[in-house]
């Protein structure tokens, strides 16, 4: 473990990736995540075993990721919403070719060019695949500086373990904000297990092919089912959430990332006024950790979903709860950051509405 240090989120991502054995970064500038490529460029310039390329586009950078990953390297790219749209083709290929990679999306207000303020409008894009075809991407959503470090390690490990792209999503605020962080011990990439599928030149072994194309439909179907079995295992093994003050709660607010921090502040506020509120914070957005929420929804009067979007994760909440509890949505899209006061107002009025109904 490193000493506690005060570091901005984008730098935490970079440092944690390097400490997790990531030795390759390919990217293209876009606000608000530029400090991450800058960090990688400066850190890799100091060492002989790091590769940094500023590509000509997000499309090129994700394809460089494909190439580097195919050689067995631990590799990262990052961008922000419009740039992540451009990467989607490559992410679909990564999924199909079963190549590990870590993709960071420091989301901004959208759609279109949008703005650089913190937002969560890319939930569908991240959790529904984003690109073409039947595939999923593991999506991790840190809310705190320390969690950015921990989840970066987790992302790099899971990408290798499952041979699949993993996305870490934050926003401009999380990227810029400095919080105290303790880093995990560094991993020496040479100590990692050899990837028996990696392209290293067919020396003393048969040649290897990394591909996604199967012209024969039964073979392509086989690939799809293999991916689906993998996604089922991932869902089983890594779904994760924080359930905070949920044991005695009448009302639970579901939120992730920056929104979850604001929601937690709101939970404290309304609790001091006698409203029994709790926070349910998905830490994995895909797989969506819905089973605990589903099991506790029977005992809840209300679920409020708060997103910095016009309402995307709310669909997963409703699918999980299956009508066992009323679900109310509250959102602020476009980069507007709510205050804990504003959200506590929402919790109070929803819970009052319920009280009135049951009276």
């Amino acid at each position: 473990m490193s000493a506690k240090t005060l570091m901005r989120g984008t730098h935490v991502l970079g440092e944690a990736a390097i400490r997790s054995g990531c030795r390759a970064y390919f990217g293209y500038p876009i606000t608000p995540q530029n400090e991450l490529p800058e960090y990688m460029a400066s850190e890799f310039a100091k060492r002989s075993d790091g590769v940094f390329v500023q590509a000509e586009s997000e499309i090129a950078s994700i394809n460089m990721v494909i190439g580097a990953s195919a050689t067995g390297a631990r590799v990262m790219t990052s961008s922000s919403s419009p740039g992540v749209s451009l990467k989607q083709e490559g992410i679909s290929y990564l999924a199909a070719m079963e190549l590990p990679a870590v993709i960071v999306n420091m989301m901004r207000g959208g759609p279109g060019l949008g703005n650089i303020a913190p937002a969560q409008g890319d939930y569908f894009q991240a959790t529904r695949g984003g690109g073409h075809g039947d595939y999923r991407v593991i999506v991790l959503s840190p809310a705190y500086g320390q969690e950015i470090a921990d989840m970066t390690r987790q992302a790099v490990d899971q990408a290798d373990k499952y041979r699949t792209p993993v996305m870490i999503r934050g926003d401009g605020m999380m990227g810029q904000m400095m919080e105290p962080v303790v880093f995990p011990e560094p991993i020496d990439p040479a100590s990692l297990p050899v990837k028996e599928w990696a392209l290293t030149g067919a020396k003393d072994r048969p040649s290897r092919i990394i591909r996604s194309l199967w012209l024969d439909p039964p073979k392509e179907e086989e690939l799809n089912w293999r991916l689906m079995r993998k996604y089922e295992a991932i869902t089983e093994e890594i779904s994760d959430q924080e359930a905070y003050l949920c044991e005695d709660a009448d009302i639970v607010i579901v939120a992730y990332g920056t929104a979850a921090r604001i929601a937690k502040g709101a939970v404290h506020r309304v609790r001091s006024h006698g409203v029994k509120a709790g926070l349910y914070r998905p830490k994995t957005l895909w797989p969506f950790p819905g089973s605990l929420l589903a099991s506790m929804s029977r005992d809840l009067d209300n679920i409020v979903v708060f997103e910095m979007s016009a309402g995307q994760m709310v669909e997963d909440v409703r699918l999980s709860v299956e009508g066992k509890c009323p679900v109310t949505f509250y959102g602020r899209p476009g980069g507007v950051v709510s205050t804990p006061e504003e959200i506590s107002g929402v919790l109070t009025s929803v819970s009052a509405g319920k009280a009135k109904k049951s009276a």
Binding site: L6, I116, M173, Q176, M177, M178, P180, R261, A266, V337
Partner: protein, 181 residues
Amino acid sequence: MSLKIIFSGFGGQGVLMMGYVLAYAGMNEDKHVTFLPSYGAEVRGGTANCTVVVSDEEIASPIASSPEFVVAMNYPSMVKYQNMVKSGGTMFLNSDLITEAPSREDINLCKAPVNTLAHDMGADRSLNMVMLGIVAATTGMVSKEALLQAIEKVLQGKKQSLIDMNQKALEAGMKYVADNQ
């Protein structure tokens, strides 16, 4: 205890460093801290601000919609933030550059000629640490020792004379508060 403070001014006044040093000092005291600088298009045009939260509990939002304290190093910053300060909170004003007073009755004002104070000690550029000393002495958010350590840490790798100068400037700010109480 959870205290939020906004530091604001124009580029070159060391506004971000004030916040950074304060956050570092808070971290060294094992408090929860967040440091949120303005970024992107917001920083174009020469203004700078940052928000620091120092708290005994986990910090919800790093954004301060109604901060306990605001530091305004120039007049536009005072205008921009005067209505945000929490009722009963304190606004710190660089009186060398701000001659008018905020149009509020329910907040405390702490005026200090930090340009002059820094200049008098031969450290024009350390006006930010003078102001931070004033803030620290007034609010008690973090201890003097933690701040002195933080300055050393933040300026690590720079000349020792620069570190000494900034530490002296911080102490000068604290002394100013003691002398004017």
